[in-house]
Amino acid sequence: MTEKMTDWKRKDLLGIEELSAEEIELILQTADSFKEISSRPVKKVPTLRGKTIVLFFFEPSTRTRSSFELAAKRLSADTLSITKSSSSIQKGETLKDTIKNIEAMQVDVIILRHSSSGAHHILAPQVTPSIINAGDGCHEHPTQALLDMFTIKEKKGKIKGLKVTILGDIAHSRVARSNIWGLKKMGAEVTICGPKTLLPRDIDKMGVKVTTCLAEALKGADVVNILRIQKERQQVGLFPSLREYASEFGVSREKLDKYAKKDILIMHPGPINRGIEITPDVADGKYSVILDQVTNGIAIRMAVLYLVSQAGISEQQE
């Protein structure tokens, strides 16, 4: 394993689009070796002792932020969490100035979530600390896609050749985009499904099958990744009602029994709207790996933090 580690050259993790299949594989393998740490009685290794990691979340997030924070702590890094309301952004400071100020405090890694697509891509080349994208607008959410792929591989033994369906609000989903890039690179067949109003234009050019029929999307699928439907989408007229969404695109036990393979994996990046995109019996049922995703998220984030920190060290030594 230690030999492979040296393959990682990137200061930042901005998205899946720019990664190679080998780099994705390296992260998954690294996560695999870190996963065991979290099951120990003392869940801590000294790997990143002395490193400072800043969690900077411009959008509310409990799940991703706590997952990153635990990952950092289990690697013995010092962490500082800043939210939009506690930052100077509220006082009119620009994102760039805020990040430059954090950089001046000589931190090693900045984990950033921001509502503007591309915010990270503009900033990363301008600062020394590693930037890890914890979600940028509707663009990418790389660690989510990595933990999804990790979970698929763990449960199915492989990714290559699998049929994976991503279901729901594709247009506004960074999880969907990161998953599409990652799964395609790893050799899966990807189908996307959702109401036409929530499928972005020309998405087929990303190399995915597109359907608006849930039955078709479920048939033959090895995995279905169900995206959270945000209630405000209905208010702007993207679909008539949550009831209609649930009946057309909600995944229920009944629909699974009727159309899906017996060993289909049900995934969801959370938080779940029970009874809308997924019924409770499916969320809690035997096909569901939703909680495994949460567990694996920590291992993936430990791996990413480790790899970008390593890249920094070797760069400095050169």
């Binding site: 503007s116 591309g118 915010a119 663009h139 050019k205």
Partner: protein, 425 residues
Amino acid sequence: MSLLIKNGRVVDAKNKQDGVFDILVEGAKISKIAKNIVSKDDNVFDAKGMLVVPGLIDLHVHLREPGYEYKETILSGSQAAARGGFTSICCMPNTNPVIDNQGVVDFVFAESKKAGLVNVFPVGAITKGLKGEDLADIADMKESGVVALSDDGYEVASAALLRMAMEYASMFDLPIIAHCEDKELSSGGVMNEGYMSTVLGLKGIPRVAEITMVSRDIELARFTGTKLHIAHVSCKESVALIKKAKKEGVKVTSECCPHHFSLTEEAVEQYDTNTKVNPPLRTKEDVEAIKKGLKDGTIDCIATDHAPHSISEKDTEYDLAPFGIIGSETALGLVMTELVDKGILSIEQVVEKMALNPARVIGQDKGYLSEGGCADITIIDPKQEWVVEKDGFVSKSSNSPFIGKTLTGQVMATIVSGKIVFEKS
């Protein structure tokens, strides 16, 4: 005071002239165009190997003054225009206060006179405050000298109000310059809606936002008989609609911008906010259609939509940055590099689209080189290569997606009313 321009290749679209001639300028007029003019004066410009063409006219610039002098002023915008080879520019009314009354029109004329560089022709607002509610003081503004009417930046959303505006404007023979964009369809969008916006996770501006309004405005122009000039055409469907309307006799003209024939949506890939412009950069097919439209005459004019913004405004997240690209200083280079060198347009066609036709749209007796005519002249070295540099602009702003690009074709001198207002050192 006289000036003799020697041995340049004189190209004029109106007189269908193309050959090596000397031009003698006396006072503000051209007194003679002939071979081997001998002048007793020794004020001679050696234009050997250069193009000597009618002064370029830009129908679409944003000078930002009054109100946004940190982005550009009438002076700095005039300097940028002069450097770009423009002898006349039309400034859009979205200043603060808006050019919607005589006072602001008079102010623009006064400031441009003070600058003393290029001719500045204000475009008056169609509606008060560009709000799309009540007609601006159109007769008053005409009296003060506006050359056209536009709510540029906005469409007049109400078709009923635009119809009134067209009928009213036709009394004064003022063309309506239409910014074709259905703001509901484009709402929240920051780039072209298509594959790139999907990949980048940026909200798209669908092409129908432009097309539906081009179509509506053409029908209103047909109905009212008013002159309609479609600004910054960006979609292939718009080109087709204009072509058809022209064939059917509608009094419609159009312009396109250099960035819309030089770049596609792919330029947005690195989230460079200098690529954020409205209408947005479109696809390869659109670029091809615009080039074809230029070639076949559907698109009459090339205008810059010079839209300066300060560095701090553009140095931000893509969705927060303002729309706009500066264009005065790169237009000619882009036209030469992307259109002339690639065989799309001849020099004569360039002269037509950057001088003669724009003059006709705004009803000015300019845009050609004739004895006795006005001495607005641009001298160009068509072979000189230069690199667009961030610090090289004379505009107050530098929001250009072409920084770093090598262009062929350099403006060597700009002459307005017989006076050299820019000379390349």
